[in-house]
């Protein structure tokens, strides 16, 4: 009996795990689960939590975020490409301009509140209010509007523009380490050249835009694209 049940269990597992995995990917469940685990962990075993989070900071902030932003870039480029909901650029500017309100109103409120709350040390942290959690925005927008709704790219563009403003402001007024603008510009130029080349090669030959190519098998964005199915 035991010998018969083992292949059965294994078969059930083989079907269930991919189904659960697809469900989790579809609804981006890793984000709320991860946040809940972090919350519980930080409040029960704070020392190990902070040790882990400090140790993982580089891997998460400087490596994993690259892949996350690849996914976000895809989400932005698709709607701004011809036929997309944020095409042409006039439309794409709308969320960018909205991000100005998204950033400056919280910053203004922050500076207004630190006085009455008697937390003057926090006054210098006003650029932090520019930061919008792109991952959470993405998750909530998809939850409310559905994965294919035009509001999703709108929210993402707005969040990314807010973060970009925040990063520029922080870099200008409160850099935590020496800045290397030359290296940054070189990276930016190379990335833009690559994007232009992909765009030209995509629209010139097969009629596919480079986001389509980015989704092709073997591309780094493939995994990210799969999360949308």
């Amino acid at each position: 009996m035991a010998a018969e049940s083992t292949p059965k269990t294994r078969g059930r597992l083989m079907r269930t795990v991919p189904r659960l995995s697809r469900f989790a990917a579809e609804y981006l469940l890793l984000l709320p689960f991860g946040a809940a685990i972090a919350l519980v962990w930080a409040n029960t075993f704070p020392e190990s939590y902070f040790r882990f989070s400090y140790a993982a900071a580089f891997a998460v902030n400087d490596i994993a975020m690259v892949f996350f932003f690849a996914l976000m870039t895809k989400e932005v480029v698709e709607p701004t490409a011809p036929g997309g909901v944020l095409h042409p650029w006039r439309r794409a500017w709308l969320p960018v301009l909205a991000s100005v309100g998204v950033t400056f109103v919280p910053a203004w409120l922050h500076t207004l509140l630190v006085g009455p709350l008697d937390e003057p040390m926090l006054a210098q942290g006003w650029p932090v209010t520019f930061a919008v959690d792109v991952a959470l925005s993405y998750f909530v927008a998809r939850l409310i509007f559905g994965a294919r709704h035009p509001a999703v790219p709108f929210v993402i563009v707005m969040a990314i523009a807010s973060d970009a403003l925040g990063l520029l402001t922080l870099a200008a007024i409160n850099p935590s380490r020496p800045l290397h603008p030359f290296g940054g510009i070189v990276f930016l130029v190379v990335a833009m050249a690559l994007a232009a080349w992909l765009h030209r090669s995509g629209s010139g030959t097969s009629g596919r835009t480079w986001p389509d190519r980015a989704r092709s098998p073997g591309s780094p964005c493939t995994g990210a694209a799969r999360t949308r199915r």
């Binding site: 704070p46 020392e47 902070f50 040790r51 400090y54 008697d118 937390e119 003057p120 040390m121 926090l122 006054a123 210098q124 935590s176 380490r177």
Partner: protein, 285 residues
């Protein structure tokens, strides 16, 4: 010629009362000439009467225990921080000490404006974090509100190069605290404690929680929470196995004396009573 008068009963009673009062006011510190003597205050800058009372007790203590340094553990100013506030919340409560030439050296708390590093009487010389030496003691002052990589790098270097007998660190947020309001700053502990252990820090003073608490040595380091020199959260301590002593019924400040390999300390209440005292003996390395 009259015979000397015999002391009457009321006079004897008065003398006894004065003796008891004097004994109550005596400080449990050796008061050795030439030793380093300093006071510790935290979370003091309210400008209210308890702060002034503590200031008076410090002045009284200074007459018997002539410390020439006061270390400030942050939240040196609450609320408004205009020039008039500096007078009301700092210069007046400690006027006699300042006149006597006692030097105050501050660290910043979350209620202090960052610009206060330039206030002359805090002797921070415009620095958020800095270090200085008195006798055989290296004092390291940390800005625990904003611990960035640059500060950690500086801390590592300054602690590594410290050649004095004692290394004392002070800053606002406590790495260990059993007060209910804030408690231990574990996120800071993870960053700072490895450096303290690596470089053999002896004693750490912090405030933030408005109580007095002495922590049992943690990995060889003695920790004090002394954040009640103006503010007070009565009954806020929840002592645990980490707690060596605590007092949360009145405002307090600390007096410390370092002589050779011994550090004597006493926590003094607003009423002038020693609510905790002891000796820390440094192990020669």
């Amino acid at each position: 010629m009259t015979a000397p008068r015999r002391p009457t009963l009321p006079a004897v009673g008065l003398a006894l009362l004065l003796a008891v009062a004097a004994a109550a006011q005596s400080l449990p510190l050796p008061n050795v000439p030439g030793s380093l003597k300093f006071a510790v205050i935290g979370d003091n800058g309210t400008g209210d009467s308890p702060q002034y009372d503590v200031g008076q007790q410090m002045t009284a203590a200074h007459k018997r225990f002539p410390f020439d340094l006061v270390i400030m553990l942050g939240d040196n100013m609450y609320g408004g921080q205009s020039p008039a506030d500096f007078v009301k919340k700092f210069e007046q409560p400690y006027a006699e000490l300042l006149t006597a030439g006692v030097m105050f050296r501050a660290s910043l708390g979350n209620h202090d404006r960052p610009q206060n590093v330039s206030y002359e009487l805090f002797n921070m010389n415009g620095q958020r974090y800095y270090s200085y030496v008195r006798n055989n003691v290296r004092f390291v002052v940390i800005d625990s509100t904003q611990v960035d990589p640059a500060q950690l790098q500086w801390l590592d270097t300054i602690l590594r190069d410290a050649g004095e007998d004692w290394t004392v660190c002070y800053f606002h947020h406590p790495l260990y605290s059993n007060a209910a309001r804030h408690g231990s700053s574990v996120n800071l502990r993870v960053l700072l404690e490895p450096l303290f252990i690596k470089h053999g820090v002896d004693v750490v003073f912090s405030g933030h929680d408005h109580v007095y608490e002495r922590i049992k040595p943690q990995k060889g380091i003695y920790y004090f929470v002394s954040g009640a020199a103006g503010q007070l959260r009565r009954g806020n301590t929840r002592p645990t196995d980490e707690t060596a002593a605590y007092f949360d019924q009145d405002q307090t400040f600390m007096l410390v004396e370092v002589a050779g390999d011994e550090m004597n300390f006493a926590a003094i209440s607003r009423a002038g009573k020693a609510v905790d005292s002891g000796i820390i003996r440094r192990e020669r390395q």
